[in-house]
């Protein structure tokens, strides 16, 4: 049986998520053995044309050129996996969605006329059909490995959508919010990172985006009691997943209060 071919694509992003593939140091040889890496500019200049069995797509759609390129990628991909907060919700650059893009362009670039950009930064799934999404800024490399392993044997990958709290309890981390009064987005954030930040006594900052049924208002009311000012709450919800519908809706409401 021929090895499935893999292509890795980049849109507006920092490359951190696709580098997770190379960061799989112990497993990299087995990965390379199991799949045929046909297009992955971060790793090799060798390139083979499509179609590809699997495409990993990193980054968000921010330019008119992106709009056509993502359609081309979709057309030559069997399975399309969006990886990371940029590709799944629009990323931190989706902060532009709340502001005037023309003003940004005028302030940042000496010759704004050369800049062709969209007013918004949006997720891959807003433009084409996405078969699977890996959340996170960055993604968890073991979730990526899980996807590769599952694909190779034809099973459904295990990708949790419940809250980060489950992972804290699983690893025996005591709750930073209950025990230390630290504001934490864990109860409304999707698991998958392994609950890294609370293990270092930090509150979760929501880089995996909303969990399957986030109750943002209830957590916000509790943050009020912890003494977090509403503008700080709004900022906490407006980071890597600012454009995720539940975070966007709630933060917009709180900002208008």
């Amino acid at each position: 049986m021929a090895k499935p071919s893999l292509a890795v694509w980049k849109f507006a992003s920092c490359d951190g998520c696709q580098l997770s593939l190379l960061d799989l140091e112990d497993e990299l040889l087995a990965v390379a053995d199991g799949i045929d890496i046909a297009h992955f500019p971060e790793a090799t200049t060798a390139h083979r044309g499509g179609p590809y069995d699997v495409s990993l797509v990193e980054g968000s759609i921010t330019t008119p050129a992106d709009l056509t390129r993502i359609q081309e990628i979709r057309a030559q991909s069997g399975m399309l996996v969006a990886i990371g907060a940029c590709a799944t919700t629009g990323g931190i650059q989706a902060l532009r969605n709340l502001a005037d893009i023309d003003e940004f362009v005028r302030v940042v670039y000496a010759r704004p006329a050369y800049i062709q950009t969209l007013a918004t930064s949006t997720a891959i799934a807003d433009h084409v059909k996405v078969d699977l999404e890996l959340a996170g800024c960055p993604i968890n490399k073991y979730q990526l490995l899980e996807v590769v392993q599952a694909l190779l044997v034809g099973r459904k990958p295990t990708l949790p959508t419940y809250s980060v709290c489950v992972e804290c309890k699983e690893r025996g981390t005591s709750c930073v919010m209950v025990a230390d009064g630290v504001a934490c987005l864990g109860p409304i954030t999707r698991a998958g990172c392994g609950a890294i930040c609370p293990a270092f006594a930090r509150g979760c900052y929501g880089c995996f985006g909303p969990s399957e049924s986030p109750n943002v208002d209830s957590l916000a009311a509790w943050w009020d009691e912890l003494g977090v000012a509403r503008p700080d709450l709004v900022r906490a919800l407006r980071t890597f997943n600012v454009n995720a519908p539940q975070f966007k809706e709630a933060s917009t409401r709180y900002a208008q209060e």
């Binding site: 087995a30 295990t158 419940y162 969990s211 109750n215 209830s218």
Partner: protein, 370 residues
């Protein structure tokens, strides 16, 4: 059983004796600002003088200089992670010339002795025994860990404000399921424990320590201390009333009010010492083509938990909260003959937004009566 007096130095001997008998000894320790359960070598590892104060959604540690070794109530860690680990491998496969071979995963385990479990923890263990060992299908991993467990319970003389074991009939004194029970007494001039055995091997270990018998005055001090502890509990839950009130009106509009607060984060079920729901996840590897299955704690608050026929059966927040509370306090009786709640109060303390099940049951009762 005859009661004996155990000095703090005898407690060190107890740890040593259990260690010599091959047990890994676990006890309460202070870690990252909470009292938890981990390996101990001596009483020096115990959280001396530490108090815990709890309220819905909040947990505080306070240091005192009174030298009590068990002067707190309960931290987030029950016996559950020890007897029923949050994640474990169930089976693995290996590809051979003869085909695929399946192997049960049987970890190499050292028997565990726990010093300082609470009466509610022992009661919760009995509840889990019924669920995991009581029917025709036995959880063999739990059975093994349970069989090897040596349990030293320390009765509660300082319950937290979130505790309600007295009303559930599970504390503050332990009644069964222990090898040794201790009650700590710290008077102006004396600091000691009154010990009793709850099993033959418990008695054996006590005999090995060569303790003096307790006199009637000391036994009276224990009785009074535990009576004061029982009376000091602010929260109550009537398990018999909860049984009927929760099943009375599953469609009552009250359930919708929970939507405003419940995060569906699953913390309550994770810290609950009796919650035993699990799911299994397939594991495959890239290189050697081996495969296996892992079991991990699941929760009735996760959508996947009720995923059947293409969608979750309990999609709404209220349906998930109702499932948890109704099973815990009502249908558990039908299934296992007891309440699923032991009154430890962990779900109240460790709910990130402080939802208090004793309050919820009271509100539901009031609304139904109104």
């Amino acid at each position: 059983m005859k009661r004996a007096i155990l000095a703090p130095t005898d407690l060190d001997n107890l740890i040593a004796v259990l260690s010599e008998r091959g047990f890994e000894v676990l006890g309460p320790t202070l870690d990252s600002g909470v009292v938890t359960l981990s390996s101990i070598d001596s009483t020096a590892d115990l959280p001396e003088g530490i108090r815990d104060e709890m309220s819905p959604g909040r947990y505080y540690i306070k240091a005192t200089s009174d030298g009590e070794l068990f002067g707190y109530a309960v931290g987030p860690t029950s016996l559950k992670p020890t007897l029923f680990p949050s994640r474990r491998q169930v089976w693995t496969t290996e590809n051979t010339d003869q085909g695929i071979i399946f192997r049960s995963s049987v970890p190499d385990l050292r028997p565990v002795a726990v010093i300082g479990a609470r009466p509610c923890d022992a009661a919760a263990m009995a509840v889990q025994d019924e669920a995991l060992l009581g029917g025709p299908y036995i959880d063999t991993d739990y059975a093994r860990r349970r069989r090897d467990l040596f349990l030293v319970v320390v009765n509660c003389t300082r319950p937290a404000s979130t505790c309600f074991c007295a009303s559930m009939g599970t504390g503050p004194a332990v009644s069964e399921g222990f090898d040794i029970a201790l009650t700590e007494l710290k008077l102006d001039t004396r600091h000691f424990f009154v010990a009793e055995s709850g099993s033959e091997r418990g008695q054996e270990v006590l005999d090995q320590l060569g303790l003096d018998p307790a006199d009637p005055d000391d036994e009276e001090l224990v009785r009074v201390a535990l009576e004061v502890a029982a009376d000091s509990m602010e929260r109550t839950l009537d398990p018999v009333d909860a049984y009927s009130v929760l099943r009375a009106q599953p469609e009552h509009p009250y359930w919708e009010t929970i939507v405003e607060r419940c995060l569906t984060c699953a913390n309550c079920t994770m810290v609950c010492p009796t919650c035993f729901c699990v799911t299994t996840e397939p594991v495959t590897s890239l290189g050697d083509e081996s495969a296996g299955e892992e079991r991990r704690w699941d929760s009735c608050f996760s959508l996947d938990y009720s995923f059947m026929g293409g969608s979750p059966v309990r999609e709404t927040v209220e349906s998930r909260y109702r499932q948890w509370l109704t099973h815990k306090l009502s249908t558990w009786f039908d299934q296992f003959g007891t309440s699923g709640c032991v009154g430890c109060g962990r779900c109240i303390t460790w709910c990130p937004v402080g939802i208090d099940l004793t309050e919820e049951v009271r509100h539901l009762r009031e609304q139904i009566d109104a």
